[in-house]
Every structure is written in structure tokens, then in C-alpha cells.
Symmetry: C2
């Protein structure tokens, strides 16, 4: 079983969905930490079906094919529960912005400053988006059941918790970009002055 398979079981843990629904879920909010292409999803759903972890009922869809609504089987729910508590396999980190920073000495400081400011802004926009989603989750059904999404018994607590991480880690990243932008300004200034103070 691939991680993608488990990711699909994860999207189905709160109720049945069509493949198309899953494609959309792979964007917001789950898409911020796990993504899959639509071309990966349909074959993987077929594999999960063959393994007996999901099942579907089909009705007439809008196009030439049937629409299938998938749900977890008992076996699927068990497989998911077992996987959730296992330590995650270490993944190779790929962070282009940090890679570029490693080789920063090879770049023009003024242009690099522009790079960092642009990145800071992009992350700020994403942070604003997360904050809006966070507030939205907390306000929704705030009174109907006497529980909010920050209560671990709330069915949306998992989604809420993922937003909490983003809200805690994005500001650190933005501050890092701004710090680097400042350092680039310093570099431009320092380059026009004698490199080393004369030794006495």
C-alpha cells in the first residue's frame, strides 16, 4: 500500500465521496500538505476497491460514464486506524527557497533582496488565507452542538489542528525571509566600504 492510498482513505474518513470530490479536497485544506493529481486518484481508487478497503455505489453520471460514490469498508477503516499511529517514513525534503539560500553567495544581493521580499509576500497571502479558514472553522456551528472545532471531540478537529500548525509555522518563515532581505541590504552597503578594517 502506497501513501497515496492512505491519503485517499484519509479523505474518505468523514464520509463517502466521489473521485471528483476527492480531487477537489486535495486542494483545500488538505491540499496544503498532501496533493495528488486527478490522474493518480482514479487508478488508486480502483486498487483500493480491489483490496477491499473501499466500496462504491454507482449511478448515472453527467458524462458518458457512471458516477461512483466511494466509502470506507470496515477493513478500510481498520487499515487507516493502524496506519495513523505508525511513525511516518522519513521523506526527502525539497525546499527550493532554502536551497537557493545555501548558494546565496553566488547571487546578486539586490536582486536576491527582491526574491526574499516576494517570497515573504506570497507566504503572507497564504497565511491570511489560513487565518480566514481557521476563523471560519471556529465560528461554524459554534452553538448547535455545544462544541467548537478546537474541541478534540469535534469531527472537524483534525482539519482545525492542521491549520494550527500553519498558523504557528508560517510567521517564522516570513520573519526569516524579511531577515534575509535586510541582510541583502546590508551586503549592498558593506560592499561599497573597505572589506576589512585595517589591522593595527
Amino acid at each position: 500500500m502506497s501513501t497515496l492510498g492512505y491519503a485517499l482513505l484519509c479523505t474518505l474518513h468523514r464520509g463517502p465521496l466521489t473521485g471528483y470530490d476527492i480531487v477537489r479536497r486535495m486542494r483545500k485544506p488538505i491540499g496544503y500538505y498532501w496533493t495528488a493529481q486527478q490522474s493518480q486518484i482514479y487508478p488508486e481508487l480502483a486498487r483500493l476497491s480491489a483490496a477491499g478497503l473501499i466500496e462504491h455505489e454507482a449511478d448515472a453520471g453527467p458524462g458518458p460514464r457512471q458516477r461512483k460514490t466511494h466509502r470506507l469498508t470496515d477493513a478500510g477503516r481498520e487499515a487507516l486506524a493502524a496506519w495513523l499511529v505508525e511513525p511516518p517514513a522519513p521523506r526527502a525534503p525539497r525546499d527550493e527557497a532554502v536551497l537557493k539560500t545555501y548558494a546565496l553567495a553566488a547571487a546578486d544581493p539586490e536582486r536576491m533582496r527582491g526574491f526574499y521580499l516576494a517570497e515573504a509576500e506570497a507566504y503572507q497571502r497564504r497565511l491570511d488565507d489560513f487565518r480566514a479558514q481557521h476563523a471560519d472553522l471556529l465560528s461554524r456551528d459554534a452553538d448547535n452542538p455545544p462544541r467548537r472545532a478546537d474541541d478534540p471531540r469535534h469531527p472537524q478537529f483534525g482539519a482545525y489542528a492542521t491549520l494550527e500548525l500553519a498558523l504557528a509555522s508560517f510567521p517564522a518563515r516570513i520573519a526569516w525571509y524579511r531577515w534575509l532581505a535586510e541582510k541583502m541590504t546590508d551586503l549592498g552597503r558593506l560592499r561599497n566600504t573597505p572589506t576589512d578594517p585595517p589591522t593595527p
Copy 2:
């Protein structure tokens, strides 16, 4: 040109290296945010050579083949400088721990608590390692040139800056894991009490 190609140019930006040297660099410290398998590196070096971005001199190696020491050409240095200031292509995020958190409602709270505590410890160990590297970089040649690695003119400033990000963002992650572990404890307690307080 693939990102891997630029990653190799990045490792060469401070001086010539053999393929084997690059394999090792792809672990510490650069390996914390960009990794490549040894089987990827050798063919990519050949491609970069063919494109004229690097060149090498060969001498008798220990094994049956020649040892090649690669360096950036002027064209390679220019290509690197141009790439560094370009906005990074958006990458699909894959974070298994966060994915698992999304589907947390399907897990056993007590076992999930163990998962979060184990993750917190693993990240704490990596943070300690980063802190040691950070201190090491700052103490090295602290007097010889009157500059430390936190001076943007220092050749190691790039490597230093990448560690700064880790030092700023890992604590947020560890705190998040600990917060979730606590929530899992709460869940265990709350489950044994009436689900909803009686409405008056």
C-alpha cells in the same frame, strides 16, 4: 534544466568537488532541505558537463574508474546566478504527519498520543543537532578574518542562514506535537464522561 541540476550547481558554488563529495554534501547540512540519490547525481553531472555548465579534471581514482573533480564554468556560474533570483516553482507539499492529523478522528486517542510524543522527540533530537551545527559555524574562524558566519560577507553565510530557519521553525513544530499529545489525553478523559452537558 531540472531543479536537481541547479542543486548540483549550488553544491559546487564554493569550489570544486568530486561526485562522491556531492553525495555526502547531500546529507549535512544541505541534505536537510534538498536530497539526491547517488544514482541521480552521476548522470546529472554528465548532463551538466554536456551543457557546458561544469567541467572536470580527471586523475587516477582508487577504483577501476577515473576520479573526476568538477567545477563551475563561467556559463555555469551565470546560469546559477540567474536561477537563484527567480521565484521558486510551487511544489506539492507532502507531510505525512499532518495528513495523519487530518484523519485523526479515525485513530485511537491513546495510541495517537504515543505517535505525537515520538514525533516530538524525533524533532527535538534533530533540533539539538541543528543547534550544535549552528554554534559550530559561529565559533569557527571567529577571529582570523574579523567576520563570523552571521556576517553576510562570510562565505558560509548561506549555510548559516539555512540553519537559522530550522532553529526558528522546529520549535513551533515540536510545540504543535506536544499540544496534540495533550489533546489526545483530554479526549481519553472526555470519552469516559457524558458526551454533552444536559441542556437546561
